[in-house]
Subunit: 224 residues, 2 copies
């Protein structure tokens, strides 16, 4: 999208532009009907082209979706990164995450929703995921309270298996806090976005805020 004009040859520029427009339409479809309803045929028709033309630009439906997942991850990393720029408070990251999720629920589900059985994310996507995790670890390492001294059972387990942190020099309590941040906020967000709270009258934002509050306090609270 940004480097569409940076292409060398006219053909490459045109190609990049068409690819961008295809993804644009794809995002529109996903925003309204979800990823499962994404139809290459419909996109082509919408663009005034006839069906198989799109296969010049994407190997197939899977490759397009993989590209969209990549963009979604990139977008999330940017959103979280922007929030982590200054203060780097854990609550700020949480807020950025929620904003990003509410802005386009289907995009959230594209990243964190029900996985496709055969699908395995390519390396560059998992790299972006690690990048997000690093931001989270930074924030969590910066917020280690004095109460984090006591080692929890899970803390020691994490100490022994901390390869996933990619060499990040965070204490076990921070590792645990980062993991809890991820799983707890995903828990609230995914249930909210999936509509499991509709009917129940309480405000999901306040439940989310309560979880963020708990996260800002004790990490493994009462563990051991």
């Amino acid at each position: 999208m940004t480097q569409a004009e940076g292409g060398a040859t006219p053909r490459e520029r045109y190609r990049a532009q068409v690819r961008a427009e295809i993804k644009e339409r794809a995002w529109e479809q996903i925003a309204t009907a979800g990823a499962s309803a994404l139809s290459l045929n419909a996109i082509a028709k919408q663009m005034g082209m006839s069906g198989p033309a799109l296969y010049r630009y994407f190997r197939g439906r899977d490759e397009l979706i993989t590209e969209l997942v990549r963009d979604a991850y990139r977008s999330l990393a940017d959103a979280v990164g922007a929030a982590a720029k200054d203060g780097a408070e854990v609550a700020a990251l949480a807020h950025a995450l929620r904003e990003w999720a509410l802005a386009d629920p289907h995009r959230y589900f594209l990243v964190y929703g029900t996985p496709v059985p055969g699908y395995h994310a390519p390396d560059d996507i998992t790299a972006i995921a690690s990048e997000i995790m690093a931001l989270l670890l930074d924030a969590c390492a910066g917020a280690v309270g004095p109460a984090d001294a006591g080692a929890t059972p899970f803390g020691t387990h994490l100490e022994e298996n901390r390869e996933w942190a990619g060499g990040h020099p965070a204490p076990p309590a921070a590792l645990h806090r980062a993991l809890a941040f991820w799983t707890r906020l995903h828990g609230v967000l995914s249930l909210e976005l999936a509509g499991h709270f509709t009917g129940m009258r309480f405000d999901p934002a306040q439940l989310f805020a309560a979880e963020v509050d708990a996260l800002a306090g004790p990490p493994g609270a009462r563990g051991a």
Copy 2:
């Protein structure tokens, strides 16, 4: 499945039996390829029938899936109910939930996974969901610690909007704890089942256990 033999007329018995077999095959397909790959045609072919025959038994793909969702909810309610029978410890419910989820991940995603845009669950399904919530509230109400006295901001918000608890006489702290139970354990389970922990070396079971531990302790810990 159970009441297949309770039918009055031979026709009804046969019909119930065929419906049961269709659902059986559907579950097999879902277990291997997920709900999105469920094909009425394939089921029919597998049963030696030709395509449209299944429409005598289900209005369409949607009705079959709705039925499967209903069965999944029922199964979850039974599993949780069985665990709540005796001691009624919160940890026991958590363990039952995890067992149920790991037994068939795709079944879990059928209930808690990415929602289909147009779909709205029928009343009897939401009723089962309420039933599960009631079991959870029972367990949480029985585990109110002395530390739960202090009213958190979210606790008072829940006190004001407690219709979703269906008149359950649980203190606000128990309501909060039940909600946290649901969202936190779903957070860990769904990320684990979706494969977001693969590559990271830690044991998901221990993270789950740590969350259960935290749940058994302070509910809104440090809120306010």
